[in-house]
Structure formats: C-alpha cells, structure tokens
C-alpha cells in the first residue's frame, strides 16, 4: 500500500507567469478555485499514445512532480511519469502490483529525488474521465492528500481530466494545462532541488 505523506507547497512561479514555459495549452476546461495541474507535453503525449496503443485494455502509471504555490494559487508541475507495464489490465480495470510500486520507489529515489508522487494516472477506454467507484476508493485510501490527484484519460473521446481533494471533498474532474519548457532538464532539476529530502 502506498504510504502518503502530507506536503507543504513550495513557492514557485505559476508557469503562465514564468518566462521559461512556452506553448501552454489546455485540455478540457480548467475548474475554478482548485488545484491547477501543468502536465508536461511529453507526459501528456506518452499517456495518450500508451492508451491508444493498448486500447481496449486500460493502461496506467504514476505521475511524479512538484507541489507548488504562487500567492494563493496552488498548482502541480508534472514533468515525468512512470508507466505500469507489470500486473494485469482489462478493458475495465488495471491493477498496480507490489513490484510496480517497488519500481516506482527505485526510479523516484535514483532519478527524481525531491519530486513527489503526485498520484496515479490510468485510462478509461470509452467511459469518460469521471472516477469510478473503485477509483474513488483507491484515491481515498492512498492518494487523499491536498497534493494528490488522479488523472484519467479516455482514448475514445480523447479527453483528459483529473480529480483532486478540497477540504476532504473529491472535486469534479478538471482539465489540465499542457506545457512545453525551453529547458526541460533545468526545470526538473529546479523542481527536485526545491524540495531537498
């Protein structure tokens, strides 16, 4: 079982105000007054390609990123992800086995120390971006901190959306910002250094 730790957001410029970020688009409508998610274009493309390739099976993985704050705006920058290619998947479910979590731990510790496990992503081939009952239970048990999200992609409708928590209430799915960065390696380094373990 994933052990979640509550984190404080680190001060960082909101990407739309920061010079290094370019070509910021939105997939879906951005919900008001809640966590904003800035997904790297690489991660976004990876999830979409993976979901289309394995459709009708579900696919999934874990997002790694940083939990930030700029004045009163809380947001996540997600520059990377670890895909789950272990375990079993069906058109209506996917299981993340313990070996996968072990692998996430290794990748996280060796390559991206300082980033946070933001939450899982998975696909819903043909049944929308709303979390299912199982998803809600999983999110409630393992990813219920303010910086946690659950990202869902439907390859049939080509829609992406994430759900997050606000005052203990699971919010309706919101769209994400998708960004490109002028120096992506520098960005990842900055984000890792911003939260020394």
């Amino acid at each position: 079982m994933e052990v979640s730790v509550s984190r404080h957001p680190i001060p960082y410029h909101l990407p739309i105000d920061s010079d290094g970020f370019k070509h910021i688009v939105a997939d879906g409508s951005i919900a008001p007054k809640q966590l904003l998610v800035f997904l790297s274009h690489d991660v976004y493309d990876f999830i979409r390609n993976q979901a289309r390739e394995y459709s009708p099976q579900e696919i999934g993985g874990v997002l790694l990123g940083q939990y930030c704050i700029d004045n009163d705006a809380r947001f996540l920058i997600v520059p990377t992800a670890v895909a789950c290619d272990l375990g079993s998947a069906t058109p209506v479910s996917i299981q993340f086995p313990p070996e996968f979590w072990q692998r996430v731990e290794e990748v996280h510790a060796s390559e991206f120390p300082g980033l946070l496990r933001i939450g899982p992503y998975h696909s819903h081939p043909g049944y929308g971006i709303h979390p299912s009952g199982t998803d809600r239970t999983t999110i409630l048990n393992a990813f219920s901190k303010p910086h946690h999200i659950s990202l869902i992609y439907d390859p049939h409708s080509d829609q992406i959306g994430f759900t997050c928590w606000d005052d203990g209430v699971l919010q309706t799915p919101s769209g994400c910002f998708i960004y490109e960065h002028k120096q992506p390696e520098d960005l990842v380094r900055q984000l890792m250094d911003a939260r020394p373990e």
Partner: protein, 498 residues
C-alpha cells in the same frame, strides 16, 4: 387537401425571381428563408426578410406558405431581422439593462432600457425630480431602412433636455449616414438618456430644435457634473466583483484559445465578451470593459463585456475600460485611447479575435476564455450544486418581474370568502420601488431611505449607489453617497423585507 403552392421571390436587386415550390400549403415561410440562405449567406448579408410586394408588409416567418400563395414576395437584406440581431447583441452585452419586444411581421420594435434617467413627479406637495431606472421607446424601421434611419418614439416620462414623452427623439451627436446600425444608434440613445451626451442649447440664444425641454436644459446645465458622474458610474459598471486574477478568484471554468506563453500578459475573456468581440467587431469599435491587475511582474486583464462606440465619439474613456475593440471601418485606424491605462487592443482577422497588449506589435499567442459548464448528471460529484457565473444579475429586471408577478398573482378565492380575500390582498399590497417601478415582493430585499423614506429594492440601490430622490441628502447624484456605500459596504437604507 390544399395544393402545394408555388411562391415567387424577387431578388434583393429586383432584377430576377426565385421560384419556390413549397412541400405543402402548411409549410412555414421559415423554410423558404432557410433555402434562400445559399443565395444570401448570413455572413455576407446578415439575416434576410421577405416583404409582400403588393402591401409592402413584412412576412412573418411562421405563417404558412398557403397564406402567401399567388403573391410576389421580395427579399430584403439588412432589414428587421438584421436589426433584431443587432439588438440581441446589445441585449447580451448590456444585460440585463436592455430588452426589446418585436411582434413577428411588424417593423416596429418596443425597446426597454433600464438606466438611470430623471423623471419629474408633480404632486400636491410640489414637484420632485426622481432618478428612474426604467424607460421605454419604440423604434420604427422605414421601408427604405437602412438607407433611411429608424424613427424613435420616446414613450415614458422623462425630464431631459433632448427627450420627451410621446415625441420623436434622436440621440445627440449621432449621424445615421456615418453608422447606419441599430446597435450603435441604441447605444447612443442610452448615452443620451443617462446624460453622457446631451445638448443643452445656448443659454440666451434662440431655442435649438434639439432642445425639447428648456427647463430640463437649465437644470442639467446647473447639475451637469453630478449627472455625468452618475452616468459614468452606472453606464460602465462591472457586474461582478473581481478580487484578484480570474483564474484564482472566480467561479468559472476556463479554456485556452491558442497557446499561452509564460510571462506574457494573461487575458481572460468572458463568454459575452467573446460574443461581443465577434458580433460588434464586424461593424463597430467598442470599449473593452473589465478589470486589470498584476501578479508579481505578470499583468492580467479580464474583459467582461463590450460597449459599442458610436462613430466619432469623443467622450473620454470610461474608468472601467481596459482596452479597445477596433472593428468595422476603424480596424486600421489608431485606437481612440490605447494608452497604459487601457493596454488591450483587439480586432478581428478572418473572423477570429487578435489581441495585442500595450505597444507590442506582436499579437498575444493565446488567451483564456470562459467555458460554459454543463452540470454533471451525478449530483454527488458537484460540490455545491450551483453553476456560478461571473456576472451577477442585478435588479428586478423584466424577466424577474414577470416571474414574480406570476408567483404573486392572487389566486381565485373560494366562494363566499371573496370580500375577506380582497381585504387581505389590499392590506398586503407590496410597495413600488421608486427606481425601477416594480413591486417590492415578499422575500425580496427592499427598504426605505433613512433620510427621505423613498422605497427601493436592495439590488436597485446597489446599482444606483444612492437614493433616487434628488432632494435627499443621500441622492445618487452625489458621488459621496456612492463612496459611503463602497466604504461601509452597508446600505444607508433601513431594510424592511416583507
């Protein structure tokens, strides 16, 4: 069964005929109008109308083909439908302060305007000037419209140098040949009503034909500053309070049009601003009304709505203007006031808005637009079940008033209890708001001025920011009333409720 009629339609240039075989006699003429769209594309001609050549009357699109069989119809472009389309645009931008009613097949349009204008009330105790927020006028489109301008008949009482009840009126400084558009004509009329553009005539000169009420002219001459101050406060006001950047402070959903570049100014367009830019920008210029701010070094601008700018308008920029829309003929002209206070410059290119900020020649790569959100069917996923809009509806405007009237319509009383019910109804008759003229119903917030006792709705007070009685120390004509209200956030009224 009636035979399917054949209908002949003369083209707009009068040189040719279209023939249309109606499927049945009952088929509405709207179907004929649809089929004419290929010949008269909406983007090129605007909505079209059909006229009965023999009588010159407008054909109601809902009448059946059978009723106009054996008659020759003529296509009219830029006529009533086009004028109604322009009024729709204005209604959306000025909502809820502009409304109209049009009887299909007629070329007259009843216009309702909810802006502050003065009315003189004569009573035994003397006469009193009161700020009224409800006015009516009638537009009549002549046969040769838009070559000839509409006739405007002012219907409601008003104390104004250039307007008077039951008389034909015309907005000040408006030349129809410069802008043959109902949109800007009504905008100019609103500016005249509120006193932004008035003609007072010469003090001791020969009476000018434009001055319809010399007494009002004298009064306006003495109180010009106060009237202008009230006009600016109410004409260009923002509907919704905006505390910070809309992304963090409003309850609306946003989407990105184009692609944002980090560090660039962030522009937020409300849904009605987008609609206004597209619909007004093809004809006219306008003010972008909204708010601007800065987060760190990054500026942001929110555009709430567009106020059309009558041609050759030399009035100063409104305080809430954050930029200009350069539309119609003015696209290549220098914007009226593209200065640091109003840094946003918008124009249409290939039907799409192009936004520039400040002195930059390069357009912004992207901007955020308000998204209409459909409530999810699963109620458990909705945090509070309320679809929030950035724009709050103010005042008991016509729709609300109609709904309230329906709710409060007295029910038929049971037999034998008629007199008691009548007495009961009489006792509970709601008072009339001195500003909007509608009743103050149960459950609404309303009250009486602590100084003069004038009754008005809380929402009307919020809109007017003072008492409608011009003799009252808290009169809306005194800007200090507005300042007191914004400082304390409290009504200077005793709120009664019902």
């Amino acid at each position: 069964m009636a035979e399917a009629p054949q209908i002949f339609v003369r083209t707009s240039d009068g040189k040719q005929f279209h023939s249309w075989a109606s499927p049945t006699a009952e088929t509405p003429i709207a179907k004929l109008l649809e089929s004419l769209l290929d010949e008269y594309p909406l983007s090129q001609h605007g909505p079209i109308d059909l006229i009965d050549e023999s009588s010159g009357k407008l054909i109601d699109p809902e009448v059946s083909a059978g009723t106009v069989a054996n008659r020759i119809l003529a296509v009219r472009t830029r006529y009533v439908s086009d004028a109604l389309g322009q009024l729709d645009t204005l209604r959306v931008q000025e909502a809820p302060a502009v409304d109209y009613f049009h009887e299909p097949g007629s070329s007259t349009i009843a216009l309702n305007l909810w802006y502050p204008g003065l009315v003189r009330i004569d009573s035994l105790g003397g006469s009193k000037l009161v700020v009224k927020g409800s006015h009516r006028a009638m537009l009549t489109l002549p046969k040769d419209f838009p070559e000839k301008p509409p006739h405007i008949l002012w219907l409601s009482p008003i104390f104004h140098p250039n307007l008077s009840a039951d008389n034909e009126v015309w907005p000040m400084r408006y030349n129809w040949s410069d802008a043959p558009s109902v949109l800007t004509l009504v905008t100019a009329l609103i500016d005249t009503v509120v006193g932004l553009t008035i003609h007072l005539g010469r003090r001791f000169g020969v009476r000018c034909h434009q001055v319809q009420n010399s007494r009002a002219s004298n009064w306006y001459r003495r109180n010009r500053k106060a009237v202008a101050s009230l006009a600016k406060r109410t004409r260009y006001r923002l509907d919704g309070p905006l505390i910070g950047r809309p992304l963090e402070s409003t309850n609306v959903h946003w989407n990105v049009k184009g692609a944002l570049t980090g560090g660039d100014p962030t522009v937020f367009l409300s849904r009605r601003a987008v609609r206004g830019i597209l619909e007004i920008g093809i004809r006219n210029s306008g003010w972008l009304i909204g708010k601007q701010g800065r987060r760190g070094h990054a500026p942001w601008i929110f555009v709430e709505r567009i106020v059309p700018l009558p041609p050759h308008c030399n009035s100063e920029a409104p305080a809430n203007a954050v930029g200009v829309l350069r539309g119609g003929q003015g696209q290549n002209e220098t914007p009226p006031t593209n200065d640091q206070l109003r840094p946003l410059d918008v124009h249409l290119q290939d039907g799409e808005p192009v936004l520039r900020f400040g002195s930059s020649l390069n357009p912004l790569t992207g901007y955020l637009v308000e998204v209409e959100v459909v409530l999810p069917t699963n109620p458990t996923l909705q945090s509070d079940g309320v679809l929030r809009q950035p724009i709050t509806v103010r005042g008991p405007y016509p729709v609300q008033a109609r709904q309230l009237s329906q709710v409060h319509e007295p029910k038929t009383s049971p037999e034998g209890a008629r007199s008691i019910v009548r007495l009961h109804t009489k006792e509970l008759e709601p008072p009339v708001c001195m500003y909007c003229g509608n009743l103050c119903f149960m459950g609404e917030e309303w009250g009486a001025c602590v100084e003069c006792g004038f009754i008005m709705h809380g929402e009307c007070l919020h809109q007017l920011e003072g008492c409608p009685n011009t003799d009252c120390p808290r009169t809306a004509l005194d800007p200090r009333s507005s300042e007191r209200l914004s400082e304390t956030g409290q009504y200077p009224f005793k709120i009664e409720g019902w």
